[in-house]
């Protein structure tokens, strides 16, 4: 490790990985020209962002199955503000985030006291309630959804040119900027006092409480922050798709998918796990898309294989070398111990003979 640059890279592995990821993503439109694949990458980013919020809540010991519902709250808030109130889209994005955060604050205040499985059921109810409530409000489009949501207004950078949101690439860069902001915010939370408190609560809520951590307040905080991020992503999704239907935010396929790709990437990896999981699931889908009816069956089988043989996620593949090393060390240690044990057994016998 004489090279100072290499040493710096090793010391800041996460930061370097993050920069490589962002640069890689930013260069995607340079070599991917097909709008179809750009669309896939945007969907991967949205799903990965949602899964990050899922893991964020999981850190505090809460399993929320209302991720898609709050995603939908953000999407609908933004769509309503844009279509009915004619508010510019650049104001809709933060407003939808704030509205979702307020909704999460109210809901979370009621349901967070019930931890464990009750919380899972409560969020299940909320996740299903959202779809039927929205589906039954005529002013929100009912089950037919909202269409003709405006794309963001064009921005004039003067000499640098003008960004008009008429192609997938423009949306891709907007999505990437939001995604990077989300990743930075989440990681800032993790490395602050709040993140440490969340970790403590996740490890053992009672112990954390006895150490002076206000469990309810910190859980509520993680719920609000996570749902606000969901809302931001939902708002982006609404303006990107230009139409939304309530069943897209349903519990059964969507939230379970989010949960599954968090598990596929590895719930222990809060930032890169969801990205890997979302990319892997999309990749599976695309790689086998030629087999018509069999595509989903193959994807399901691959999900099962990953989850049975790599329960800690795809990223735990990176720990395999170190695990083999540890196994070797343990084996060597055990052998040494066995040899030591025979000596130790022999020694008292001698000693006994002396007495």
């Amino acid at each position: 490790m004489s090279n100072p640059i290499a040493a710096a890279i090793v010391a800041r592995k996460r930061l370097v990985g993050f920069i490589i990821l962002v640069v890689f993503l930013a260069l995607v439109p340079a070599w991917v020209k097909s709008p179809y694949y750009i669309d896939l990458v945007i969907v991967i980013m949205i799903n990965a962002g949602l899964a990050m919020t899922f893991i964020m809540l999981l850190r505090t010991g809460l399993i929320s199955l209302a991720v898609a519902a709050f995603w939908g709250v953000g999407a609908y808030a933004s769509a309503m503000l844009s279509v009915h109130a004619h508010i510019p889209v650049w104001a809709c994005l933060p407003l939808a985030t704030i509205i979702t955060a307020i909704a999460a604050l109210i809901v979370g205040f009621v349901i967070i006291r019930s931890a464990g499985f009750t919380f899972v059921i409560m969020t299940t109810v909320i996740g299903m309630l959202f779809v039927v409530v929205v589906g039954n409000i005529g002013r929100m489009g009912g089950y037919n959804g909202v269409s003709n949501i405006r794309p963001p207004e064009s921005i004039n950078f003067g000499a640098l040119g003008k960004v008009v949101f008429d192609s997938k690439v423009d949306f891709f860069y907007l999505g990437l900027i939001l995604f990077v902001i989300i990743m930075l915010v989440i990681n800032a939370f993790y490395s602050s006092w709040a993140g440490r408190a969340w970790n403590a609560i996740g490890l053992n809520p009672r112990l954390a409480q006895s150490m002076g951590v206000n469990v309810f307040r910190y859980r509520l905080m993680s719920f609000v922050v996570g749902c606000a991020i969901c809302g931001l992503l939902g708002s982006f999704y609404a303006h990107y798709q230009t139409f939304i239907i309530p069943t897209a935010f349903n519990l059964f396929p969507k939230t379970i998918y989010i949960q599954a790709l968090a598990v596929l990437g590895g719930v222990g990896f809060a930032t890169f796990g969801p990205i890997v999981g979302a990319a892997a699931l999309t990749f599976f889908n695309e790689a086998f898309s030629g087999y018509s009816n069999w595509t989903v069956i193959i994807v399901g089988a691959l999900v099962l294989v990953v989850v049975v043989f790599l329960p800690n996620g795809l990223l735990s593949l990176g720990q395999v070398p170190s695990r083999i090393n540890r196994w070797r060390q343990e084996r060597a240690f055990r052998r040494g111990e066995a040899a030591g044990a025979t000596e130790a057994e022999a020694a008292p016998a001698d000693g006994g003979g002396e007495v």
């Binding site: 409560m122 109810v125 039954n136 949960q259 599954a260 009816n293 069956i297 994807v299 399901g300 329960p311």
Partner: protein
Amino acid sequence: MSVLFQLAFDGLTIGLIYIILAAGLVLVLSVTEIFFVAYGQFYMWGAYVAWYTVDRFKMPYVVGLIVAVAATAVLGLLSYALIFRRMQHMDNRFLITVTGALGISLIMAQAVLPAFGTQPKSIPNVFPGALDIGGVHMEVKKLALIGIGILVTLILFYVYERTRVGRAMRAVSLNSEVAALHGINPSRVYLLTMGVGCALAGLAGALLAPAYNVSSGMGNNVIASVLLMTMLGGMDSLLGAVVGGFIVGEVLSFGQYYVHQMNVVYLFLFIGLVIYFRPAGLLGKRSNLGV
């Protein structure tokens, strides 16, 4: 007045399907502690297998019923033996099993399309005719469904409450380690419960097949409401499953007539309130699932 009875009758018909479904899910949830989101697919498979046996092999409906139950039981046993058995002792068990169940659900939901085709199916009516009693129009096929449903529920109660197997299931659901100390093999009880639970789902599907249409989306449509009615009744109580299924069936039937679409909203709100004030459900005792 006859409208009320008619609605109650229709609610009872769909309610019995829900009761059988919820009873199977109660067994799976309370004994194996798996949040089994693939459960609805077994229901769909039961309906499809029954249709296939009756339609293709020209078998009587009763044979179709038996084949459907056997097929879904085997599928349930396989899914436990091949997949969930390996997950029973992992960290993050809840998330891992939900993901595994999602994989199973994807495979089963899609596999019906190449196997049975994409068109909605219906079994030719095996119980023709209808009775009119006091202005209530009761089709014989729905009466048959109610009869078989009540019979199955009674048998299930007998097995669960009075036999050694049922006692073993209850013991494992209370505490698998202590049950193992008393000579019960929890692993075998888990396997058996998964088989019985999935067979019940298949039975519900096969019972539904002559009275309603069979389509590939029915599994996805039903799973969320079955989970909710299980939670409403209490996830460790068979009687709770009966109460939950009955309430949901009747509320949907009456609500469809009086408040149209909004009935689902009120139903979910009601269930949410019940769970908020009684996390264990109406008749249940426990509210945790090893999360």
